[in-house]
Amino acid sequence: MNTLESLRYFLPETFLICGAFLALAVDLFSRNKKIVAALSLLTLALFFFLAKSHPAPAVGLSLFFGTFMLDPLTQFVRYLVPAVTFITLLASLNYRPLLKLYEGEYYVLFLFMVFGLILMGASSNLLMIFLSVEFVSILSYLMVGLLKKDARSKEAAIKYLLFGSAASAVMLYGISLLFGISGSLDFEAVGQAVSRPEYFSLSTLALIFFLVGLGFKISMAPFHMWAPDVYEAAPTPVTAFLTVAPKAVGMIALIRVLGIALAPLSSQWQHILIVLSILTMTIGNLSAIAQTNIKRLIAYSSIAQAGYILMGLAVFGSVGIQSVLIYLVTYALTNLGVFTAIIIVSNQTGSDEITSYAGLAQRAPGVAASLTLFLISLAGIPPLAGFIGKWFVFSSTIQNGFYVLAIAAALNSTVAAYYYFKIVKAMYLTPAETETPVLAAPSLKIALGMTLLGTIIFGLAPQPLIDWIQHIRL
């Protein structure tokens, strides 16, 4: 479909990008940065409803000369990413370190980020996927380094940039190989060329290169090394966002690449993914045990969570993809909740050390109880949302006979429960050093309440969520 015809379906995204530029313009002229924030939140909310009123057709619609695939999977991204961003922005409104610096740009960056992520999730073309991954990456580097007076934040941004560029370069090389084989950038055409036996070794090489590039985005071992440093040093709301949105969309991009362009190699990548999944969750969980900084601990935990999601990816098929999507939703809610609680505490105490959570049950009973529920949900204990996600990835592996993977994940879940409960222990079992109550700003309370409600509702009544996701096919 050509550009003009496509625009009709691209209305929500067009609106989004206009909203982003408008917010940027307002930021130039207004001293009150909260107006930019309000405008950004409004744009996101309107985008969400626009996307809802322009649903994707059940059979994919290929827009912009086959670069943008408008299908239920893209629609999933259109809902998930703005929702995640909305909560992130709510949690950012009163994030102390941010208030002094570039507050306006901060909100605008997120709007562009949403745009980039949607492009990434909808890519059905090699060039498009490279461009959108780069677009998202560059924005991520900026976000991480936003606190430019903070040495660690800067260091993390540089580290992220170097790692990310290397990974992108490798992926680009893989893309060039695939283009060389097929003479086309379109996923479908690439898929046909890859299926020819004479290209087997070349395309396997391209597969590995692709896994490097996208594996970097989703913090898959062994390309996860950047994650703990970046997640620890970045502004906390940015960390919250990075552990959720780019990871989720990276998974969706992988689904498209593996399921269409590299589908003929499925027996190859299935085995690779099983190994990498086990590796990712094990490395993440074992490294998390020793952490004393909560951001770093959750950083490792989110690496481990990526490992669980990769289980569903390894299974693939409609069952595997569904389990990935359900896991992504439940994980996004829960992880955002955890970070909102972290922001509330660090606003008051100025510390992210687990020791500063001592006696939080007395100082802020509501926050402590919510954080406990989020951690229990992350640990996959019923009846919370995280359990439903875990249930689906486990059941997809069992259904398809991937027993080793299931057992590895079960062992890993036990390890994970140990360090999640380290935080719970600090909050409930260790006496507080001071009695000062921890107070939360209203916007943070709203963010906490939204994520908590979601975590509980999707745990007790996941039917609508499952129903919706069951209709999503590649």
Binding site: I376, I381, P383, F394, S395, I398, S413, T414, K425, L429
Partner: protein
């Protein structure tokens, strides 16, 4: 309250817990009153279920509502002769433990909320007829238990709490894999116990699934060598929680064998029969010897639990009517007897602030009434004829004698050991020269007596007329025996 009786029983405590949450935290009296009232209500409702229960007609009071249609999970409750006694035991022990919790002085609101939440979890576990629901309740029990041990426990409470939590979680995750495998092997895919128990699965699959479930249940019981969490948890937990642990939580494991492992995987259960027997005998003898070596009163009772729960497993291993009936009865009697012993340990600890048995002596002169109670429960525990512990252990031995005489002979060592460590304890604590250090200890008070008397009544009446509870159980137990192909 008649149409959804079981839901009312299960959720009554949680309802009370929610009310507790909205009570001002300084108002200890109100919080305690609410807790007692709700546990009492749950108890009365479970009695009502007992009144309406017909032992001969299988599963009753069924409630079944579709919960998550996408994977055919139901909210499905029901009780039969296996689960109803456990429900009654749970509500009874909960009432007594709730009364015994009046000694808790710190963070009362949190305590009673978690306590009531725990009761809902336990009751739900015993009533669930859908494996998904069962798993949810099973796991729900873990979380309040972690806090109850971790916040209100003894010196090493943090270690004990997380150890309990991780051990049980480890087992239940494998059970989860087993549940999923079972689901995908059933045609049509279902979690419904009633439907699943009518299906027959390939023997190879049964063995794997049995082992997956076994890991979950064995850790909970606990079966040697998975028992190491138990002494830590029991010793560090506050008295009422030890009572719940010993009285109810351990039974969740053996209940799991009766409810799921045996009827769903009968061939695998047969295949596992000798191993079950061996593990049971090891548990009985080993638990007895370790209990004999303890100087800590509470630790001794904790290890005696390992030994006594071994009899439940022995009965399960027998595959005879006597064995099964004995095992079921032992679950109930152990709950009442050991619950009482833990309460008595607590009574002493509250006054003396030590549990070292060597530090006491001659207490029967100082606390005569206490001495009487302790001797009564010790006699019940060591299997004195006329008290309930005798009946259940005798039935188990009778049953296992029909299966393998050697097992029966070896497990008698456990009974001798029980007599040894209990009498030894009585000698060290109650008899001997009076230790002047304890001359200020007051005797057991009326309030504490109230928590013990219901247990004593049950112990005596079951001991004299075991049919009152066996009649409740045996039709279901015998149906199970037919299903798994055991001998009468």
């Amino acid at each position: 309250m008649t149409s959804h009786l079981l839901s009312w029983i299960a959720f009554m405590p949680l309802l009370g817990g929610l009310v507790v949450l909205f009570t001002p935290k300084d108002n200890a009296k109100a919080i305690r009153t609410i807790a007692v009232i709700t546990t009492l209500l749950a108890g009365l409702l479970s009695l009502k279920a007992l009144m309406g229960f017909n032992p001969a007609s299988g599963i009753q009071f069924i409630e079944k509502v579709m919960w998550i249609p996408q994977f055919n999970a139901h909210y499905s409750l029901g009780v039969d002769g296996i689960s109803l006694p456990m429900v009654l035991l749970t509500t009874l022990i909960s009432i007594l433990a709730c009364l015994a919790s009046f000694g808790i002085k710190e963070r009362i609101k949190e305590y009673f909320f978690l306590f009531l939440f725990l009761e809902t979890g336990m009751l739900g576990t015993f009533m669930s007829l859908d494996l998904f629901l069962f798993y949810v309740f099973w796991e729900i029990v873990l979380v309040p238990m972690y806090f109850l041990i971790g916040i209100w426990g003894g010196a090493r409470k943090e270690y004990a709490a997380i150890k309990f939590f991780l051990y049980t979680l480890f087992g239940s995750l494998f059970m989860l894999l087993g549940i999923l495998a079972l689901y995908f092997h059933s045609t049509p895919h279902t979690f419904d116990w009633v439907e699943l128990s009518k299906m027959h699965f390939a023997v190879r699959f049964q063995k794997f699934a049995f082992l997956a479930f076994f890991l979950g249940f064995a850790i909970k019981v606990p079966i040697f060598p998975f028992h190491t969490w138990l002494p830590d948890a029991h010793v560090e937990a506050p008295t009422p929680i030890s009572v719940i642990l010993a009285g109810v939580l351990l039974k969740m494991g053996t209940y799991g064998f009766f409810r799921f492992s045996y009827p769903l995987f009968p061939d695998a259960a047969h295949w596992f029969q000798p191993y079950m027997g061996i593990l049971a005998v090891i548990g009985i003898v080993y638990g007895g010897f370790v209990a004999l070596a303890q100087t800590d009163f509470k630790k001794m009772v904790a290890y005696s639990s390992v030994s006594h729960m071994g009899f439940v497993l022995l009965g399960l291993a027998a595959f005879t009517a006597n064995g099964f009936n004995g095992a079921m009865l032992q679950m109930f009697t152990h709950g009442t007897i050991t619950g009482g012993l833990f309460l008595l340990v607590g009574v002493l600890y509250d006054r003396a602030h030590t549990r070292d048995m060597n530090a006491f002596g001659g207490l029967s002169a100082q606390m005569p009434a206490y001495g009487g109670f302790l001797i009564f429960f010790s006699m019940a525990s060591l299997g004195l004829p006329g008290l309930s512990g005798f009946i259940s252990e005798f039935l188990v031995l009778l049953g296992v004698f029909q299966y393998k005489k050697l097992f029966a002979v070896l497990s008698c060592i456990g009974i001798i050991l029980a007599a040894a460590y209990l009498l030894y304890m009585i000698r060290k604590v109650l008899l001997g020269p009076k230790n002047e250090k304890w001359s200020k200890l007051t005797d057991i008070n009326a309030f504490e007596v109230v928590t013990l008397v219901p247990l004593m009544l049950l112990i005596v009446s079951i001991g004299l007329y075991p049919k009152m509870i066996l009649n409740l159980m045996s039709p279901t137990v015998e149906a199970l025996l037919v299903q798994v192909g055991g001998k009468f």
